[in-house]
């Protein structure tokens, strides 16, 4: 390497707006999206090996805190992002559904690993064949289990969704229709 250039990664671009000396004006949903994006409080719903990978993701080497998800919330009422990591048995399904219902809007769900996404190798009578049968899912992370980098990639995808969330989306007919499909509200 001939050149030792320090590359500063940009995690987020400035939203478009009008700026002048001492002020910056932009759309409200853009400002809110930017704030939400870097202050997600994830609720880890970890039931098996994907949960172990998530522990590595939160650890010093991969450090999810770099992306603003420092604070894990173990109360569904305070969290924005439900991270389902691991096999969900059919007996666990009502619990997971209840946790999701208790979360306040706006909320996002990420299904980490093959089991949470589709049942994975557990194609059997006792295992839920994908959590999207009981709750809506925003991002699926494939892998058995996925590496921490993949989980971080999933979080970045969620951040993209959070950033571009419009103010009225949760009241839109499409969203209400989706909730109705899952027998919620």
């Amino acid at each position: 390497m001939s050149e030792n250039k320090i590359i500063k990664p940009t995690i987020s671009e400035m939203p478009e707006g009008v700026s002048g000396p001492g002020f910056f004006a932009t759309r409200l949903d853009k400002a809110v999206g930017l704030a939400r994006k870097f202050s997600l409080w994830p609720l880890p719903f970890a039931t098996s090996c994907c949960g172990i990978e998530f522990m590595a993701t939160m650890g010093a080497t991969y450090d999810l805190a770099r992306f603003g998800s420092e604070r894990l919330s173990f109360s569904p009422r305070q969290s924005d992002l439900l991270m389902v990591m691991g096999t969900i048995a059919k007996k666990m399904a009502p619990v997971l559904r209840h946790v999701y219902i208790q979360m306040a809007e706006p909320k996002w769900v990420i299904a980490v690993g093959a089991c949470a996404s589709s049942g994975g190798i557990f194609d059997t009578y006792s295992v839920l064949q994908g959590i999207d049968r009981i709750i809506p899912v925003d991002v699926y992370v494939p892998g058995c289990p996925p590496r921490p980098e993949q989980i971080i990639n999933g979080i970045l995808k969620i951040q993209k969704l959070v950033e571009n969330e419009s103010l009225g989306r949760r009241n839109s007919p499409e969203y209400l229709e989706l909730m109705k499909k899952y027998n919620m509200e």
Partner: protein
């Protein structure tokens, strides 16, 4: 280490033939372990006898599990007994027709059989007569099948992403 005590096996067989010749179908040695098949009407008497007899003292029910013989259209239960006093184990089997799957509960002999019988009911649908609270223990309450019966399909039937023509399901 556990050692096979064949003298004790003979003693158990002799005592059982003395007392329960009418209830016993057969006895055999499987992997050096004595295994006796008993008709289901007498299972409670046989187990109480094995527990209370001064010489035998099979005071511990190691486990109890269900079975399904698809070819014979039978459901069965296996009881594993252990005598702490004599350090000796035996196995008792009983069977019932699948169309009338009732077997007397042994919760009166060993209260520990309660959850084991619930498990056998949950997975095989064996109705234990006299059980205080026979309901599912591991599977979801809404389930109507008995998943460890051999005619129960192995894979989840609600999955749509598996193409039969591709996987030869």
């Amino acid at each position: 280490m556990y050692k096979i005590n064949s003298e004790r096996n003979q003693l158990v067989i002799r005592k059982m033939i003395d007392h329960f010749s009418y209830a016993m179908d057969q006895h055999e040695l499987i992997a050096d372990m004595l295994c006796m098949t008993v008709r289901k009407e007498f299972i409670r008497d046989v187990l109480s006898f094995l527990r209370d007899d001064d010489e035998l003292q099979y005071n511990f029910l190691t486990t109890l599990c269900g079975m399904h013989y698809q070819d014979k259209e039978q459901l069965g239960v296996v009881y594993h007994l252990h005598s702490f006093v004599n350090n000796h184990r035996i196995r008792i089997k009983t069977a019932t027709d699948i169309k009338q799957p009732d077997i007397p509960s042994i919760t009166t002999v060993w209260p520990a059989a309660n959850w084991m019988e619930r498990e056998a009911y949950d997975f095989f649908g064996i109705q234990f007569d006299g059980h205080p609270d026979l309901k599912r223990i591991l599977n979801v309450d809404e389930m109507t099948d008995f998943p460890l019966r051999k005619d129960f399909p192995l894979e989840d039937q609600t999955r749509e992403d598996k193409d039969d023509s591709m996987f030869g399901r």
